[in-house]
Symmetry: none
Subunit: 222 residues, 4 copies
DNA sequence: CCCTAAACGAGACGGTACGTCCAGTCTTCAC
DNA sequence: GTGAAGACTGGACGTACCGTCTCGTTTAGGG
């Protein structure tokens, strides 16, 4: 993950020829790790910049030199967790989907993820820049998995190739929102576990719906 | 909406004979209204108790006498908005579902709702009491709509009567998480509009999936 | 001591025929006692009306019905302590004076007195009504002792009779300020004990000065 | 005036090499000046830390970083006023003493002094640290004047040299309490003016007493 | 091998909100 | 109409962080 950092010269020379003391990469790592630890212990609302600085053995100024505020810092700290999400290949679409759902649920069950996800999203409702940051750091990372999964299922012949590229894109978005939404809502709002039984029923529902989506719309004229 | 308030005797005598000056009901109304206004203007994180008190024309102490903190206050203030959610009756399950999805999306599109929902849920990840409050004030209120919708569809013959009551309950939960999750995710995370076209595709997906759910599970033995 | 109380009808009928429930004299006593106890425990600045009310088993309203505020209450509560000050009769002016000094010092050494005296006086620097209350309740009570002491010494022939009544009054004031001032300053400002040795030296100083006061002023003509 | 400040390292290195931003000396001056102004306008009990901060154009935190509370702040603010007390030299002990009394009275008559002195002393009855602060900042400053005055009178031959150094110290304390006590009591408790006539009578009393103090104690054996 | 310029730690700065406490008033019921 | 109880407005309290600032001190190239 390479987040674009606050007040960083956007594009450095290929050879970093900026004068002066370079920024400490160790500090970056220490700060992000400290942020995750603090998130688990304190939760979003009680996490403070000062506290993170202390934990990371770093001055507050160093934080502010790199991130504009708490939200930005937390997004970067959490984003790396989503790197581990990978599409499993178990040979069939339902099996892959079910495994994917369980992996996503496991990720959302980790304290640092569950605590920060909703809070960051909430902050983003009033902050377009933050929304973009979340999208590039987290959401898009998940969305490609949907596209990969569909491509693989089409190769296997489990799904037809959609002719209209626009419809294809819309459907991918729809399916992404359904999967991620259902798992997030189950985990964080309903606060009930995504166990294999639930994942199985959900997969059946989704596979069945997917099939009917590819048929001609019965509500619309022939 | 009847919120359980901070430090209130849970059930008073039928004749309220507590000594001392009774609490002002007008203050309650003013505070909740002020909270909603402030939410719209400032968003969750910049909303302060002091500001709410000032807007409501009430002393800060009066707020703290009734709510333990910002989260509790906001849950109560927002909960009332969910009262307006009602199940439409358009004659068919797909039509009803589509309308319902649009209504829910419209509600989540209102600034006070979108701003506060996620934030409150985020707070709740670390607070069991708050989680209960949200569940009773908001989540359960929506869940009954799913049950009503299913019952009506069964009366119409659009859905079969499930024999096993446990499976019935689980499926209702599943469907609730899928609907609410998809709409919430689309609205707040993907940050794209739930327009009639999206609602229509989503409804087709869900109705199709619903049908396959009621069939015998092809993955399990005959 | 019967202080004139806040909002009391100044003069009641000989037969108390006021309508309604009469005030509880027990409450008065309890309040003043509670005030003294609280003063010892908490000191002036941390003593609160609410706390006194609780200790006295009385509602806050009852306090405010009788005293206008903290200062007034404390003056009344402390004034009674000064009732015990009496002029000793040991047969000679120096002996009486020395004993008097030690008694006054002992009174000022009691926690409730030392804590409240200065505080009340401090409040009074900005409040004429309070100043009158202190004067009548405390200061004048001490000043008569000076007058009594002089009269007795004159009867004994230890002091001459001053011809000019105005000079007599001024000198009594002067001597009062010197005695009370020295003891108060030693006790509360210098914060050192008024022990018999100090009292003895002070008495010698004062008696000697008194003698020179009654002589003709060497600074003034013939 | 050198006040010992809250949480200050008592003695820094000769070269101030403490890390971090140094404290603003200008802030100190502004705060103490604002405190004196506020004292005059509002009096001790209505003076608030917030108000002082606002007047000084300084944040409340800056006050609390330097002084532990209202009492400490006021002591330092007032202490500087006592710097102006100087021993006059008019050629004779009675003249010097009379002038000194009038100067002290004039100082105690200034609103900021009269309002705060007693209140601070009252607070100090329950606070040893505050008592020490008052002593070093105010009381000792006055006591040296007594010692200076005595030394000068001895040089002039107006007073004998005391043989026993302990007796000398005790007598200085006694005289200090008598002078300061009488003036303070007259000014603040009796609330009557220290005019030249009073100062003259008081001086006569004290000079006379002083003379008798240096004689052999008639009460004690030869 | 120093020079230069930025990054660093430390911590004070002006602010804002916190949640608590108390003042003094008002409202209700019981006696 | 007094008394107890307790909710009310209002405002200061002292604390905690915020994000900025001003220091003196590293620390790495580049000359």
């Amino acid at each position: 993950m390479v987040a674009v950092m606050h007040s960083h010269p956007q594009h450095r020379d290929v050879q970093n020829t900026r004068p002066g003391r370079p920024r400490s990469a160790a500090a970056d790592r220490a700060i992000l790790a400290a942020t995750r630890t603090a998130l688990v212990e304190l939760g979003w609302s009680k996490l403070t910049m000062s506290d993170v600085a202390t934990r990371a053995g770093v001055a507050k100024t160093t934080l502010y030199r790199r991130w504009a505020g708490k939200s930005e810092l937390v997004v970067d700290a959490v984003a790396v967790l989503f790197d581990e999400l990978e599409l499993p290949d178990l040979g069939s679409l339902p099996a892959d989907l079910e495994a994917m759902v369980l992996r996503l649920a496991a990720l959302l069950d980790r304290p640092e993820t569950r605590t920060s996800m909703m809070a960051v999203v909430a902050e983003a409702t009033r902050d377009e820049a933050l929304r973009r940051r979340i999208r590039s750091a987290i959401v898009d990372r998940q969305k490609v998995l949907v596209l990969e999964g569909r491509a693989r299922a089409q190769e296997r012949g489990e799904l037809p190739y959609e002719k209209d590229p626009e419809t294809a894109a819309h459907d991918a978005d729809l399916i992404f929102d359904v999967i991620a939404g259902a798992v997030v809502h189950r985990t964080l709002v309903s606060a009930e576990p995504v166990d294999p039984a639930w994942a199985h029923r959900f997969t059946r529902l989704l596979i069945g719906g997917l099939a009917s989506l590819t048929q001609r719309d019965p509500h619309q004229a022939p």
